[in-house]
């Protein structure tokens, strides 16, 4: 049985990483876009982002566009690698004979 990353294994964090991994490597997602996409509250998303940030999987940047505050979130290369490894592990569970 392949080992699953406990940080990403949590369902909400898995969905957050999936959303961020769908963006181009240099792109960033707006906090409110992520919140609405995943159907989370501000507080819930913040808590999970903090956990992912502590693991080094995401970065969060607070900035302004004009007078409007914006919070950008993006997956780090480590986060993308961890997410890809997690997806590979899921595939291994599904198709154990196809991979050595």
């Amino acid at each position: 049985m392949p080992e699953l990353d406990p940080v990403i294994h949590q369902p909400t964090r898995l969905r957050i990483m999936a959303a961020l991994a769908a963006l181009d490597a240099e792109d960033r997602a707006d906090f409110t876009f992520l919140r609405d996409l995943l159907g989370l509250t501000d507080g819930n998303l913040s808590v999970h982002l903090q956990r992912l940030e502590e693991a080094g999987y995401v970065r969060v940047e607070k900035t302004f566009i004009g007078r409007r505050p914006k919070t950008w979130v993006w997956a780090t290369p480590e986060g993308r690698a961890a997410f890809a490894a997690y997806v590979d592990a899921l595939e291994d569970i599904l198709h154990p004979k196809e991979k050595s």
């Binding site: 969905r15 240099e26 960033r28």
Partner: protein, 191 residues
Amino acid sequence: MQPQDAMDDLKAIRQIMERVRRTSDGFGGWFMVLWGVIWFLGFTGTHILLYLQREDAINWLWTPLNALGVLGSVWLGIRMAQRARTKSSTLWVPLLLYWLALAAFDGVLIWQLRLYTNGRHMALLIVLTIALGYIQFGLFTHWSISAMGLFLGLLAVVLVTWLPAYFNLGFAVLGGGALIGGGLWILRYGG
């Protein structure tokens, strides 16, 4: 974890990734609609003014329309940046500078080659430059933008070669219409 759980997780991952890709900002859509409307009004007006033998008034038609387009593009860029879902959608300034550089290039050619003495040649140069701009921009963003550029370029060549009397009217309806339709398509399906 059981295979069924792994399958459910993979399905959820694919759904979210697909939703993110589908819910792009459609950044270029509003710009295309704006310029499509301007082209429709400008080229229709040009056709009518030529019919009325009022060529002198064509500049008075296009100058405010182009100014409206540039101001509208700046306003749209600021608004899009504030509402952007992804950071790449806030990068409208380089895009605006790119189009201004193309406009400056056309301005020099029109001035040096005295293309302003022939309205159709001037319009053809501008339209072909815009078509080239779309093709180039699409190569770095989405194939549909390049397809739009290719269509506009071919339309210009076909109209000026075989239907010169309907160049302006054709471009109003087909060129402006394609921009409006393409813009609405991008807003609906992403681009």
